[in-house]
């Protein structure tokens, strides 16, 4: 699946987008964030404040307990600040 990072999540992770292949045990957004976090210091830093990070699956806002099965594109970003 495709994963995108925006704003300071992207800056800290040091990458804007990547294709990932998490194990089948990773079923929710919260679990995916934990899995990403374990991949290295940049990701540990990017997802340190996981509680404030927002997520979207295929362009729709979702909560951290949302299931990721079937997702084509998952995005992680800070609370939005447009307008």
């Amino acid at each position: 699946m495709r994963v995108l990072y925006f704003a300071w999540v992207k800056d800290k992770a040091g990458i804007a987008a990547e294709d990932i292949n998490p194990p089948a045990s990773v079923t929710t957004i919260a679990e995916l964030m934990n899995w990403l976090k374990a991949r290295g210091p940049e990701f540990a830093n990017a997802f340190e404040r996981a509680d404030v990070i927002r997520a979207a699956i295929d362009h729709s806002h979702v909560r951290h307990d949302a299931r990721i099965a079937g997702a084509r594109e998952i995005a992680f970003f800070p609370p939005v600040t447009g307008g």
């Binding site: 704003a7 362009h59 800070p78 609370p79 447009g82």
Partner: protein, 151 residues
């Protein structure tokens, strides 16, 4: 109608395009958000967004406004890229037969846009650049409309 663009917008021209040839519009409200210099602390504002999801969210927000109020026309234009103090950021236009619907719908569009459209602001100033923090009062403003819908 919604648009995401780097170019500036012309409020008069946008209103004219929305209302041309229509005799059923009595009230037009516009909201324009602009870059504040914050007493010199901001020299540049960069807007990042999530292409694809941004358009989806803006369409959803506009459809929600149209389902709540009798609008003859509406428009959301949001700029992205690097802006300077005084520059336009966002334009919302609502047109209705009566003023209450136009005012309320414009306010609703801004409240929802602020909390759900995937844009992020980064301010640059003499002390460097940093991402703008979201405001809890924006969440409160959006939540008020949900309460009203549930009542």
């Amino acid at each position: 109608m919604i648009r995401v663009q780097t170019e500036d917008f012309d409020i008069g021209a946008e209103i004219a395009a929305l209302t041309a040839g229509r005799g059923d519009i009595g009230a037009i409200v516009t909201f324009t958000g602009t870059v504040r210099d914050q007493h010199g602390a901001v020299t540049e504002l960069t807007l990042e967004h999530y292409p694809g999801m941004t358009e989806t969210e803006l369409h959803r927000i506009e459809a929600e406004a149209k389902s709540r109020w009798p609008l003859q026309a509406s428009l959301i234009v949001h700029r992205v890229g690097t802006l300077k103090p005084g520059d336009n950021i966002v334009l919302v236009v609502t047109a209705s037969a009566h003023r209450d619907a136009a005012f309320d719908a414009a306010k609703f569009l801004m409240d929802y846009l602020k909390t759900s459209a995937p844009f992020w602001k980064r301010e640059t100033g003499p002390d460097g650049a940093n991402w703008v923090d979201a405001k809890s009062q924006d969440d409160d403003a959006a939540a008020r409309w949900q309460k009203r819908a549930a009542e």
